[in-house]
């Protein structure tokens, strides 16, 4: 106990030391972006000795409130800014989204939102209804508590209890393996992971949704409906260090970090 008080008493000395440590950048906001931003921060610290990047979580709205109030240099928001937030500047560093996947041999190439809804509600159970080869549809759903499930339910206006699933997958990889090994299966996974696996030759196909192909270009432009931007948010007078970090975060050299978090990079080279 005495030790603790002694240490508490020494605090002012410690603060004095810290003030001279120099450039500290604070980011707060979306818990979806936080792990990615923290990794970018570590890399930024490594190439900019003397600087420190502190990433705090707490939700998109918190990030916006903090950057406005000056408690943070950069806010993180995993959504587009609302009209009431026009005083702030968003910079999209990556996109997060959900891809609908089927087995590569499936002849169906696109579905509408209404068709997806019917499949997941169990109202349609044969691929012939959608122009595919006749055969039962195996519905792969995500386990409760997964971010992809939340995005999926929200977009299609579904209630998780109403979904008639044949298989429930936890991880993205588990869902992809199930679909890749089941010719009649349909599932949905994080779009970054699906793209990387498709490129690596896994036997899955990304379906177009409402006529929009799930290509890299359509996702990064925002045309693909099942995706959202991951924004770093600045005030009109950002600090030089904040601008430096934003430029760093947007560089293609950071794409590997973005892909590792299952997001889609903005820079063209995948």
């Amino acid at each position: 106990m005495k030790l603790i008080f002694a240490l508490l008493a020494m605090l002012p000395l410690a603060c004095g030391g810290q003030a001279s440590a120099g450039r500290v950048l604070t980011l707060t906001g979306s818990s979806t972006i936080a792990p990615l931003a923290a990794e970018m921060g570590l890399r930024f610290e490594a190439v900019n000795p003397g600087s420190r990047v502190d990433v705090q979580s707490g939700g998109s709205s918190r990030g916006i409130a903090d950057v406005r109030a000056g408690h943070a240099d950069i806010g993180m928001a995993s959504r587009a800014l609302a009209a009431s937030e026009e005083d702030l500047t968003p910079v999209t560093i990556a996109r997060d989204g959900v891809a609908l996947i089927v087995h590569a041999d499936n002849v169906v190439t696109e579905l509408t939102s209404e068709q997806v809804r019917r499949i997941y509600l169990g109202e349609a159970s044969d691929w012939s209804e959608f122009g595919g080869t006749s055969g039962p549809i195996t519905v792969v759903n995500k386990a409760e508590g997964r971010a992809t499930l939340t995005v999926f339910l929200e977009h299609f206006g579904l209630d998780s209890r109403a979904i008639q699933a044949d298989v429930i997958a936890g991880e993205n990889e588990q869902a992809i393996k199930t679909v890749a090994g089941t010719p009649g299966a349909i599932g949905y996974v994080s779009i970054g992971t699906a793209m990387v696996d498709r490129e690596a030759g896994v036997t899955i196909k990304l379906l177009a949704l409402d006529g929009v192909q799930a290509t890299h270009q359509n996702v990064s432009s925002g045309a693909y409906p099942l995706s959202r931007p991951l924004n770093l948010v600045l005030t009109t007078s950002p600090s030089p260090l904040a601008l430096e970090f934003i430029e760093f975060a947007r560089a293609p050299e950071q794409n590997d970090l973005i892909l590792r978090e299952s997001f889609v990079p903005m820079a063209e080279k995948l």
Partner: protein, 274 residues
């Protein structure tokens, strides 16, 4: 007679059920979480958003957060409990008691937002181990005070009367007569408080923060183990095994603290009673 033995069997079954729940949780953690545990896991800072590296820096942050919380809450809690146990019936003490009970029922996220507004912003401590520890100290105070007070009040009145009859001073009565029998109950209060502080997540996200590097001092932001477990389970794909491993470490720490406090209480009891 038969009814009595039937009732006994039922009660046994219920308490066995409670134990089975604990065994189940621990077995689940052990079976899924032992994989990543190694010396490096316990010493290193996390890398790759927690999918690689270890939890060393988080253990250091967690230790300091809990140390600040108990270091501040224990003396305040102890003396408040002594006062409340002596002054059982005044209007003031009844008001304090009902305030404490209400405070105890406040959700921890509310403490988090309060701590953020008071310590991080108004007092300018920022996201720091100090803010987190002070927020937790506010949070565990009610449970500390109330359990300590209960255990002091459980000492039979006759012992107090005997102490006054012998002309012992109030301080001597407290340390020689009241504390020895009350110490094991007070230890339970301490265990509950430390346990609550160790397992707290919501109040710390907004106060101690999310930073995973080794803290240099108490004004650095530091992620606690429970916040890390929450983050790995909810926000980081592909880190489930490490979430289990971190949870296993947290449970082991809780067991160790539990046993240490109990041992210390027994030692204290024996020393004061002689």
């Amino acid at each position: 007679m038969r009814r009595e033995s039937g009732l006994k069997a039922l009660l046994w079954a219920i308490s066995m059920g409670v134990c089975a729940l604990l065994v189940w949780i621990v077995a689940d953690l052990v079976s899924r979480g032992t994989g990543p545990i190694s010396l490096e896991f316990l010493m290193a800072a996390p890398r790759d958003a927690g999918r690689a590296g270890g939890i060393g820096s988080l253990l250091v942050s967690t230790f300091w957060i809990v140390a600040v919380a108990t270091g501040v809450a224990l003396p305040i809690g102890f003396f408040s409990a002594v006062l409340l146990a002596e002054d059982t019936h005044s209007r003031m003490s009844r008001a304090v008691r009902s305030c404490l009970d209400m405070l105890n029922a406040v959700p921890s996220i509310v403490f988090g937002l309060f701590g953020n507004a008071l310590f991080c912003v108004a007092l300018g401590m920022g996201y720091s181990i100090l803010s987190g520890g002070l927020t937790l100290s506010c949070m565990i105070l009610p449970i500390l005070i109330r359990t300590m007070e209960q255990s002091l009040r459980a000492v039979p009145k006759e012992q107090r009367f005997a102490a006054s009859a012998l002309g012992l001073s109030d301080v001597t009565t407290l340390f020689r007569v009241l504390l020895p029998p009350a110490s094991s109950g007070m230890a339970v209060g301490l265990i509950l408080g430390v346990g609550r502080a160790l397992s707290e997540t919501a109040a710390l996200i907004f106060t101690a923060g999310y930073v995973t590097r080794f803290p240099d001092n108490l004004l650095d932001s530091g992620r606690s183990l429970s916040v890390h477990i929450f983050d790995l389970a909810m926000n980081v794909p592909g880190a489930d095994e490490r979430a289990y491993a971190s949870a296993l470490v947290l449970v082991v720490i809780l067991f160790v603290i539990n046993s240490c406090v109990r041992l210390a209480a027994r030692h204290f009891q024996a020393r004061l009673a002689t």
